[in-house]
């Protein structure tokens, strides 16, 4: 059993949970949502409820005709016996639970972007420019003032950050859009690790940010 962790207090909207359940979120955004859902029993239950509706709806679809050899091909592709589920990689003890590909990214692609700041790209969609990434920020460090084109999803995996007077802790979800110009900073505890997803690179609003941005490329 994972140790009990305080439940998140900042949640995605009901509309976003439904978008997640119906499969309308881009892969990186879905990943950020699933990190929050893993930490938040209330949102998880709401997503599961919407998924159950999806399950009922798929049952009532008119079945499409398959190619004549479809079943034979599927049978020929079966592993025998079924691959046992891979041993779940445990996230570091002080992280909330995250999907395996997030852990893999942290392991393989972590790089220091600036003193006290590391990033690790997780997903990237080259056609649309949408991306998700891990961001680790040391205590006392602020992300340079910036805004976003389109919206950005963030879920705190570890530690906490403060943004415009609000403290976001483990499992908390935040969404910011181009109306928000901010400078999130880590004020308490140790390092803060976030999973973030956005449609475009962030837009720096101050010189240090413009210097910082090519390093981070997020």
């Amino acid at each position: 059993m994972t140790p009990p962790m305080q439940q998140p207090t900042r949640h995605p909207s009901e509309d976003l949970i439904l978008d997640y359940a119906r499969g309308a979120l881009e892969a990186g955004r879905a990943l950020v949502m699933s990190a929050h859902l893993g930490a938040c029993p209330a949102c998880h239950a709401a997503a599961r409820f919407a998924e159950a509706i999806g399950g009922a709806l798929i049952e009532e679809l008119e079945p499409a005709s398959l190619e004549p050899d479809a079943l034979a091909r599927a049978l020929a592709r079966l592993d025998t016996p079924p691959t046992p589920p891979a041993a779940t990689q445990r996230p570091p003890d002080d992280w909330i639970r995250v999907p395996p590909e997030v852990l893999a990214a942290a392991r393989r692609h972590k790089r220091w972007a600036a003193p006290g700041v590391w990033v690790a790209p997780v997903t990237r969609d080259r056609r649309t420019d949408a991306r998700s990434y891990l961001l680790g920020i040391g205590r006392g460090i602020a992300v340079p003032r910036h805004t976003h084109r389109g919206s950005e999803f963030v879920c705190v995996l570890k530690g906490s950050f403060e943004d415009r007077g609000v403290v976001y802790g483990p499992g908390d979800f935040a969404e910011s859009d181009e109306s928000v110009e901010h400078r999130p900073h880590v004020t308490r505890g140790g390092e803060c690790v976030c999973l973030a997803a956005a449609d475009h690179p962030l837009v720096p609003r101050e010189l240090i940010g413009r210097l910082f941005q090519p390093l981070v490329r997020i």
């Binding site: 119906r22 309308a24 798929i58 589920p85």
Partner: protein, 210 residues
Amino acid sequence: MHAIAFDQAGYHLGGWTPARPVIAMSKPGTAADGFADMIGAIAAHADRQAFAGLFEHFAPRVKSYMLRLGAEPQQAEELAQETLLTVWRKAGAFDRAKAAPSTWIFTIARNLRIDAARRARRGDPVEDPSDLPDAEPTPDEAMAAAQSQGRIREALGALPPEQAQVVRLSFFSDKPHSEIAEELKLPLGTVKSRLRLAMARLRDLLGDLA
């Protein structure tokens, strides 16, 4: 990619009967229980006949789902294949107390499609779709999942038609609600409020599941 086994046997594809009395676990009668038993048989003894039974029921529906979401027929066929192959590989992770078989299969199909969209654009493979390990269900949830599917269909049938329509369009389209509104020639606010009303009504009708 997937390991391929060439020991393809001829199976009778008629009515599936469990090789072992796994049905002892569940109340007899509902289709969902039958499918849950088949998934259990795959997990317990790699039962290919159970797989064939699931495939015949779900693969055409998953293909239909993919087509609705705008996949080309060939891609829809392949995603239906991959969905059912994932069912085979992950059968051991299915928990009938947490979800009905159709819900579980829906989420697998949904994740594979999101992932396929990204792969197609990027050109390199990614890891497993991002399903998280689930929290343990409470006894209430377990009860609810077992009975849920028929009741959900009933509740959907009880919605006013214009609400049921936006629910169906929401699930069978990955478009943002703004585009759904355009298609229906309705203001976005109307689509969103219908959807919210519908979800609230479903929660009322299915309170113990929500």
